[in-house]
Assembly symmetry: C2
Homo-oligomer: 185 residues x 2
C-alpha cells in the first residue's frame, strides 16, 4: 500500500445554515485523529486552517506534547502528535504531501452525504497504486467547491438506520479502520 | 441480531500507574459514543460511575440536550443522548439491561491488551443468540476483577504496527462498526 495522509479541513466548510465559514480547531480532534492515524500507519495529519490565531493554538498544543512537559508525561501521545502539520489550505496540504511522497497523490474526499461515491474496496485498490490524502470536513462538512474538482468521494458510513451524525473523530477512526485495517476479524 | 447496549466504565478502572481509581467523566465521551451508538442501532448507553457528583454532572448534560435548549438547537444530538443512562456499577448496568431485554445478556469486555479473546466473527455470532452489553474502559482500562468473571473479551484493535493508544471514543466507534456495520464495502 502507498503512503496515506489525512487532512482535517476547517476551511472552506459549511455551518449549520449552509454558510461558508472557517470552523474553530478542536483540541480533541487533533488528539483523537492523530492517535487513530498513528494506529493505522498514516504518515501525516494535516490540520488545515487559514486563521493565524488558530494555527498558533495548534502550534502551542503541539509544542506541549512534542517538546514540552507532555512529551515526557506521555511519550505515546508525542508519537501520535508528531504526525501533525498545520497548513493554511487544502492546496498547501496536497502540495506538501506530494513533495513528501515525491509523487502525485490522490485526494480522497469524505462526506456524510456522499453521492457519486466510491466504495471501500475501490478506495483500497487505488491505495495500491498511488499515495492518498484523505480529507475530513469539520462543521457541517466541506464546502461544495471541494467536491467540484473531480476528486473521488468515499461512500458515507451507513450504520443501521438513517442516523448519520457521527463526530468527525469517530468517522475518521472508522474510515481508517475500513481502509487500512489489516483484518476485520 | 439481538439488542445491544454499550457501557462506559469509570470504575473500577486503572490509572497510568496501575492503581485502581474512579476516572472522571468526559463530556466528549458521552457525546461521541452516544452518536456512534445511535448510528449503529445500539439501544442503550450506560455511563457507569459511582461518584454522585459525576452522576449529577452527566445528568445536567443530559438535561440540557434532551429537555433544555440543546434539544431544540440540535434534535439529532437529543436522539443520540436519549440512549444514555447513568448507573453506579457494571452490575447495575447489567441488571437494568437484562430487565430491558427480558433476557440474560452476554457481557462482552474490550481491552487494548486482550488475551484469550474472541474475534469479531465469533462475537457477531453470539449477538445472533443473546443480547449483549459491551463494556469499554476509561483511564488505562478496566480493572482485572472485571476480567475474572468468565465474560468473553473482544480481541484488541490491531492497526498497522504495535501502537495501540486509540481514544476510547475511537475504539468504541471502530468496534461498533466492525460488530454492527451491515457491510464493510
Amino acid at each position: 500500500m502507498k503512503p496515506v495522509a489525512v487532512g482535517l479541513v476547517h476551511s472552506p466548510v459549511l455551518d449549520k445554515r449552509g454558510d461558508r465559514v472557517v470552523s474553530a480547531v478542536t483540541n480533541v480532534d487533533i488528539h483523537d485523529i492523530a492517535r487513530a492515524a498513528r494506529t493505522y500507519g498514516v504518515q501525516r495529519y494535516y490540520v488545515i486552517t487559514p486563521a493565524a490565531e488558530q494555527q498558533r493554538l495548534v502550534g502551542s498544543i503541539l509544542e506541549h506534547w512534542c517538546q514540552g512537559h507532555g512529551s515526557r508525561y506521555n511519550p505515546a501521545r508525542k508519537e501520535a502528535l508528531s504526525l501533525v502539520k498545520v497548513v493554511a489550505t487544502v492546496q498547501e496540504a496536497l502540495e506538501d504531501w506530494n513533495l513528501f511522497c515525491d509523487a502525485e497523490s490522490d485526494c480522497l474526499l469524505t462526506s456524510a452525504r456522499a453521492e457519486n461515491s466510491i466504495g471501500i474496496e475501490e478506495a483500497r485498490e487505488r491505495l495500491l497504486e498511488k499515495p492518498a490524502l484523505i480529507l475530513f470536513g469539520t462543521g457541517h462538512g466541506m464546502a461544495p467547491e471541494l467536491f467540484e474538482r473531480g476528486w473521488p468521494v468515499l461512500s458515507a458510513i451507513i450504520g443501521r438506520g438513517d442516523y448519520n451524525h457521527l463526530s468527525v473523530r469517530s468517522a475518521a477512526a472508522i474510515i481508517l479502520d475500513r481502509l487500512l485495517g489489516r483484518t476485520n476479524s
